[in-house]
């Protein structure tokens, strides 16, 4: 079974090459080819999943790729365990749904071949990432994923915002990736291996202790925070919404941004070794969750609301991992992948119908877009944590995990965030689908069936996935590196509180945006300062720009001064000295032939005399050879 696992990432890669090789000619077939490839990958992934359910275990295939002088070698290999298989299935499934959807959404776009080959390439990279059995392969695919994300955000590269957003995403995640790389190298330095299993064993065996383990864990977490858009590296994700909506659904909601959470889970033994690192992860996750949720409450761009929601939910998952509740984090990752992909695809369907991203220009779309509205409602209920939708179960699992870890402050943050989440998602849904249509006249029409079908499938899963909680827990606990788990922590009041918060959020959204008993504009005016702060996303982008301008540019100016006057000055002085020396000495070259001859002759005489003075025996030799008379003549000289 495991021998064929390599085919799962290989098929999308093959499809990507095939489609791009076909060029313009494959425009009609591109989507079908790549979707077909990922369909077969999904079948195989499900096959591996069922195999692993019947016989749980951790399997690894690996070959040595580069052997270095020491005993450190780089491998290419795959690690198949419940964690990676779950990720395989999620990635293949969401990718398939999104690609089918894209057949409708992207139809008629000029760059459709490029689009599908990038999508397929992304799928390949992501599958390679989740299968990696060693840190070097993992890092390679990690960067490939970042590259495909860059390419797809900047898919409409003629739009300056899209090109800028692509660059921003690449550069911001680069900060984190640098940390990841250093972390990997430090790990390899101490433990002498790149293999994830061996790293885990070594760390468990106590080969990495004290401050080093905290430092390594935090460096690796920097990579995870970059990809998973955790504060303070979250700024790229909302801008990444400039890409096509299906791209946002696949990469920036369901899979790639979850890679950071996956990374923490994959290397959990490394994190588990440091209580400090886990604490920082938990609090940073909680902070991000709350921060992003508050921003999402006042945004008006439909995709940006969802983007901040993604940031917030990823913070939730990090919070769970930081509290050692590995399984709850992964469970939320799974359910979130489904309902957030659904939210994005439904949003794409709305955008497809009305050609705008601004929710203020929508309104009353419910009757025109019945299926979109219904599926999006399912996703919103799931995100909002309303039972019996999937989000309720995974969110409760996280809250329970936090409670079990004894972090009451984070529990409060989680519950408040749950309320805010319900508020902003129903604000979105109510504004878009209910009420009176906006003044702008549009002919909203339901999307074609290729777009509707994925919505329905995803909605079904968003509804039902939560019931698998116990099975999920049981299955995942067999995966490598999972902390030993006993009974799921249980607390009767926490789900109540969370549900209460969610209902409060829903009620508030209902009053403000449906009943309009409370005027949103009035609220904005009354809390003008807060509103402005949230509207500008806490001015984080502005702070970064300020820091770059003031900090980096100042530093650059100083360095430029140093370069101009010290480095260049030294070079100039040397040049000047040479020029002056030449100017002085060229006077010696008088240009008269006889002057040179004279100098030459005098020089010869000087050499001869000095040789004779220092070696008087030469005179003796000459005297002995020639007659005494000659000897006397020479001696006179």
């Amino acid at each position: 079974m495991i021998a064929h696992v390599w085919l799962i990432p290989a098929l999308p890669l093959l499809a990507a090459i095939l489609v791009s090789a076909g060029g313009r000619r494959s425009a009609r077939l591109a989507g079908s080819i790549t979707a077909g490839a990922v369909f077969f990958s999904l079948i195989m992934a499900l096959n591996v999943l069922t195999g692993l359910i019947s016989a749980p275990g951790v399997e690894q295939v690996s070959m040595v790729w580069l052997r270095s002088a020491g005993n450190l070698s780089m491998e290419l290999g795959m690690l198949v365990d419940p964690l990676s298989v779950i990720m395989l299935v999620i990635v293949c499934f969401i990718s398939l749904m999104v690609q089918i959807y894209s057949l409708g959404y992207m139809a008629g776009d000029q760059g459709i071949v490029r689009y599908f080959s990038f999508m397929s390439f992304f799928t390949f990279s992501m599958l390679g990432l989740v299968l990696a059995n060693n840190l070097i392969t993992l890092y390679m695919f990690w960067e490939l994923v970042g590259l495909s994300s860059y390419l797809l955000i900047g898919f409409w590269y003629h739009k300056p915002e899209a090109a800028d957003a692509a660059k921003k995403a690449f550069i911001v995640t680069r900060f984190g990736d640098l940390g990841l790389l250093i972390g990997i190298l430090v790990l390899a330095y101490f433990l002498n291996t790149f293999n994830i299993l061996e790293v885990g064993e070594a760390v468990k065996g106590g080969q990495l202790t004290g401050h080093w383990s905290t430092m390594v864990a935090l460096l690796i977490f920097a990579g995870a925070a970059g990809k998973s858009a955790q504060f303070p590296l979250h700024v790229w994700l909302p801008d990444a919404m400039e890409g096509p909506t299906p791209v946002s659904a696949l990469i920036h909601a369901a899979t790639m941004v979850a890679a950071g959470v996956f990374l923490v889970a994959r290397l959990f033994p490394v994190f588990a070794a440091s209580e400090t690192a886990l604490m920082i992860i938990a609090y940073l996750g909680g902070f991000t969750a709350l921060l992003a949720a508050t921003i999402a409450c006042v945004q008006n761009d439909i995709k940006r609301i969802l983007a901040y929601s993604t940031v917030s939910q990823l913070g939730y998952m990090m919070m769970a991992l930081g509290c050692r509740d590995y399984i709850a984090g992964m469970f939320h990752l799974t359910t979130h992948a489904v309902f957030k992909a659904l939210l994005f695809l439904a949003a794409g369907s709305v955008i497809h119908a009305v050609h705008t991203n601004d929710i203020r220009q929508m309104g009353g779309l419910g009757p025109a877009l019945k299926i979109t509205a219904a599926t999006m409602l399912v996703a919103a209920l799931a995100l909002g944590g309303i039972p019996p939708f999937s989000g309720f179960f995974s969110k409760d699992a996280i809250l329970m995990g936090i409670w079990a870890a004894g972090r009451m402050d984070l529990l409060m943050v989680g519950i408040v965030t749950a309320g805010l989440t319900t508020f902003y998602i129903f604000r979105l849904w109510l504004v878009v689908f209910t009420g009176r249509p906006a003044e702008k006249k549009y002919q909203a029409h339901e999307s074609p069936w290729v777009m509707i079908l994925p919505l329905l499938v995803l909605a079904l899963l968003a509804l039902s996935l939560g019931w698998l909680g116990e099975n999920f827990r049981h299955f995942l606990s067999a995966s490598w590196g999972a902390p030993s788990v006993g009974e799921a922590p249980h607390h009767r009041l926490i789900p109540m509180f969370a549900l209460l918060a969610s209902l409060a959020g829903f009620g508030w959204a209902y009053l403000v945006y449906f009943q309009k008993t409370i005027s949103a504009a009035l609220l904005a005016r009354k809390f003008a300062a807060t509103y402005k702060l949230l509207k500008h996303k806490y001015y984080i982008d502005e702070i970064y720009i300020f820091l770059v301008r003031q900090g980096m540019f100042m530093l650059s100016r100083g360095l430029a001064w140093f370069d101009r006057y010290v480095v260049d000055g030294m070079v100039n002085r040397i040049g000047e000295f040479c020029r002056l020396a030449g100017k002085g000495t060229r006077r010696l070259q008088v240009g008269r032939l006889q002057a040179y001859l004279l100098a030459f002759f005098l020089g010869l005489v000087v050499i001869m005399v000095s040789v004779l003075m220092t070696h008087p025996e030469i005179l003796e030799i000459i005297r002995s050879y020639v007659c005494p008379a000659t000897g006397r003549v020479v001696a006179m000289l």
């Binding site: 006077r587 070259q589 032939l593 006889q594 002759f601 008379a629």
Partner: protein
């Protein structure tokens, strides 16, 4: 009084000195070349005298070499002088300073 090695050497020294004087004083390039010939002949004479005195042929071989080199040098030197003359209408060494700084 027989003519011995010393006489040859003295003659050679006189020729060499004359050549040196010519090299340093002549302003005409052709005259300078002639003076150089004189120096070389002085050396050649020296070598021949030595060969005669020690009864070894090495000096004679050197003399032949020197004559050959002198011929070649004269040919190249005169060719250069003619080329310079065609170019500058002048072979006065004091005035040939166009390559100076």
């Amino acid at each position: 009084m027989t003519i011995g090695l010393v006489h040859y050497l003295v003659l050679s020294t006189i020729l060499f000195t004359l050549g040196l004087y010519g090299v340093f004083t002549r302003r005409n390039a052709v005259a300078l070349l002639l003076a150089v010939e004189l120096i070389m002949l002085a050396v050649a004479l020296n070598f021949t005298a030595g060969a005669q005195f020690w009864g070894k042929p090495g000096g004679l071989i050197f003399a032949i070499f020197i004559i050959a080199v002198a011929a070649a040098e004269a040919a190249v030197g005169l060719a250069l002088v003619i080329a310079i003359y065609r170019n500058q209408k002048d072979v006065d060494l004091d005035r040939l300073t166009m390559l100076r700084w």
